[in-house]
């Protein structure tokens, strides 16, 4: 049983470019949450998708957008990249709109903006 799959694992982009990160949730999970983790910090909540809609959003600018597909997979898009967007981006999946049982995390995408 595959867990959460994220792609790509590493990515280098130039300031001002756009990037798309992808996530496939664990089998049986229908909710996907995205987190940004800067070096040495805890993960910061970006947004959560459930039933193909953005259910909740953290304190991130509109440059960060996402999508959930009918098969529950999800994309995170970041436009107009800034150097400060360099971070580990983590996708987590869970079952149901609420997550009382803990999340399953992917290994993350390491984004470097130069």
């Amino acid at each position: 049983d595959a867990g959460v799959t994220q792609s790509p694992t590493h990515l280098i982009k130039t300031r001002g470019q756009q990037v798309t990160l992808r996530c496939s949730p664990k089998s049986g999970h229908d909710t996907v949450s995205w987190y940004q983790q800067a070096l040495g910090q805890g993960p910061q909540f970006i947004f959560q998708y459930y039933e193909e809609e953005e259910r909740q959003r953290g304190n991130f600018p509109d440059r960060f957008s996402g999508h959930q597909f009918p098969n529950y997979s999800s994309e995170l898009n970041v436009n107009a990249l800034l150097l400060g967007d360099s971070a580990l981006y983590l996708c987590a999946s869970s079952r149901g709109g609420n997550s009382p049982y803990g999340y399953t995390f992917g290994s993350g995408t390491r984004l470097t903006v130069v």
Partner: protein, 110 residues
């Protein structure tokens, strides 16, 4: 912004000793979860304790929750080299998202 704050930020102990990490949070919660992260990789869910529970065990892990003090502790007994990692607490409220603290970096010396 972080909901929880872990204490200490870093902890170094001898293999075989017990490790205790603390987490304080600010708002009402439905549950509190602990996760482990090895060297910048994905987080692994360790244990979840609900707001109406005071203590929970899982193998060598013991978690306590004091909602009156808005705090939790994670105890790892008989530590092993493989326990070296960062540990995060995360709080879940009536909303479905969970919010992470800043983490404790645990090092186990051989």
């Amino acid at each position: 912004s972080q909901q929880g704050e872990e204490d200490p930020q870093a902890l170094s102990i001898q293999e075989g000793e017990n490790a205790t990490m603390n987490c304080s949070y600010k708002t009402s919660i439905n549950n509190l979860q602990w996760y482990r992260q090895n060297s910048g990789r994905g987080l692994v869910h360790l244990i979840l304790i609900r707001s109406n529970e005071r203590e929970k065990h899982s193998g060598r892990l013991r978690v306590t929750l004091d909602t009156s003090k808005k705090s939790s502790s994670l105890l790892i007994t008989a530590s092993r080299a493989a326990d070296t990692a960062s540990y995060f607490c995360a709080t879940g409220s009536s909303a479905s998202k969970i919010i992470f603290g800043s983490g404790t970096r645990l090092s186990i010396r051989p």
